[in-house]
Subunit: 303 residues, 2 copies
């Protein structure tokens, strides 16, 4: 690769955003004061957990690292302002920083999120990519939190889930445009992105909101990848749709009145998957038969 | 350790800052709109490069990770607003997350920088701690950049340098208070923190400013650690002061008039180490004998 100042290069190749007030060599990025609240989210992606760089290439790693952070911003119906990137390169096997950068930029540019700074190092370990995205809210909007779902609310998801491990997990599309369109159209009581698994993330949302939900098995949108994977694992496709994770779709709760509005014509694809109930817990209803359902998927707990 | 939600715990134990608008479970932290420009800086610290956790302990790792980021903010005379933390824990040997958190908080609290969110994971690799700090500027202040040094300016450093590897590198004090006091007292034309090595960081500042400098050997403040280390390495203590790095002092350039003001009584300890010249390059003057000096210290370039 030769000597290469990754961050300086990122900063000098980022289209001059009016908000970026300092140059590539400074200690901090400086952005114009956002007129509205500041949203901040960060995710650290690592070799063997989030990607296998020797299989997928550095471009895909860059794309995923930026996309999963923008997905968290989408989950609060935020608008991107900028991002900083920290990369730790492995010394043992070279990774093309320009390829990684191209992947980061590919997604960042598509969602108007200038990369304004960062940090690079190398070490004896494997590739680590840390992204922090900051954003704001459109005028008059409140951040959509996980806490606002209420009994009687209807639950929707923006797309089919399951089987992302077959490759889709490397190419998520942050649902920023969908969140924006939905926030214009209805009042989003609560929202979360599907990273840990549809049933797991619904449970996170319910736990924060202090209620429960009944999911309707027949209504869960199953991705073709879930069907393909099910043929290999022998498990039902629905299991994969409910448990696989890294779909990066949005799950949200709206009032019955807003649900009717969405059924009448949503500005973006949405699938109604269930309803919130007062009793805490999660149930799966199959052909009218309701049974308690233990959420499956990824756990962030430190064991 | 048992199951432990590190980020939730951080958020719930952070003293309620008026700026923090959302709860521990949400996808983004939300802060009140800063009235002035937003400064952002990020640094990723890794095992074997920035610390040896089995020797220094998780508390020291947390302290250092927060301090080096706040040091970058100090270098622009910024004021902390908040921080997010990303941690990747090694699966192979357990690290106490509460100890790590206590270290992060120890420094963050001392400088009124609430930890408002973050991300944790575990992997087969070693410990990684990524911190992103955002800050702002006091009313009427401009960010102090690296670009503003001019021929004739005087260079100062806030403390003695060298030998930090003997242990001091794990316990840096971000010079936020010093930067603030200096920014009130004089006009800081350019500033940088000493992370890569005094001569290396002076060179970074000069490169951005488009000028050179003559450092006066007799005036470089040498830390006692540099003397101790010199006795082991056989190199002169001055070499260690100029090249060792991770001192996290601030180097800054001011006009001759402001230099006179500082000599007359600076609000914080400062050491005058040289002056800027029009010719690009770095020289070391020893007893009136001026020779070109090749900066020593850490390089971030990807080899």
């Amino acid at each position: 690769v030769g000597e290469f100042d990754f961050i300086r290069w990122i900063r000098t190749t980022t289209p001059s955003a009016a908000e970026v007030l300092v140059g590539p060599g400074d200690d901090c990025a400086v952005l114009a004061a956002p007129a509205r609240p500041l949203l901040v989210t960060t995710d650290v992606l690592t070799e063997g957990v989030d990607f296998l760089v020797r299989e997928c290439g550095a471009f895909a790693v860059g794309r995923k690292a930026m996309a999963v952070n923008l997905s968290d911003l989408a989950a609060m119906a935020g608008t991107p302002v900028g991002a900083v990137v920290g990369v730790v390169f492995p010394r043992a096997h070279p990774i093309d920083p320009q390829e990684l950068h191209a992947g980061l930029r590919d997604v960042a540019d598509a969602f108007h999120c200038p990369i304004v700074g960062g940090d690079t190092n190398s070490w004896a370990g494997e590739l680590v990519v840390s992204v922090t995205v900051f954003g704001t809210l459109k005028p008059g909007r409140q951040p959509v939190r996980r806490t606002g779902a209420r009994p009687g609310d209807r639950l929707f998801v923006t797309g089919p889930c399951g089987g992302s491990i077959l490759g889709r997990h490397l190419h998520p599309t942050p649902r920023l445009r969908e969140a924006d369109a939905l926030a214009e159209f209805v009042h989003l009581n609560a929202m979360i992105d599907v990273s840990d698994g549809l049933s797991q993330d619904v449970s996170h949302l319910l736990a924060e909101s202090g209620c429960g939900a009944v999911l309707t098995a027949e209504r869960i949108p199953i991705h073709p990848d879930a069907v393909t994977l099910a043929a290999r694992t022998g498990r039902p496709p629905l299991d994969h749709a409910l448990g696989d994770g890294e779909d990066f779709e949005l799950v949200f709760a709206v009032s019955e009145a807003d649900a009717a509005k969405l059924r009448g014509g949503s500005p973006v694809p949405v699938f109604e998957i269930g309803r919130c109930v007062a009793d805490r817990g999660l149930w799966l209803e199959t052909g009218g038969d309701r049974r308690p359902f233990t959420p499956t998927g990824w756990s962030h707990a430190i064991g």
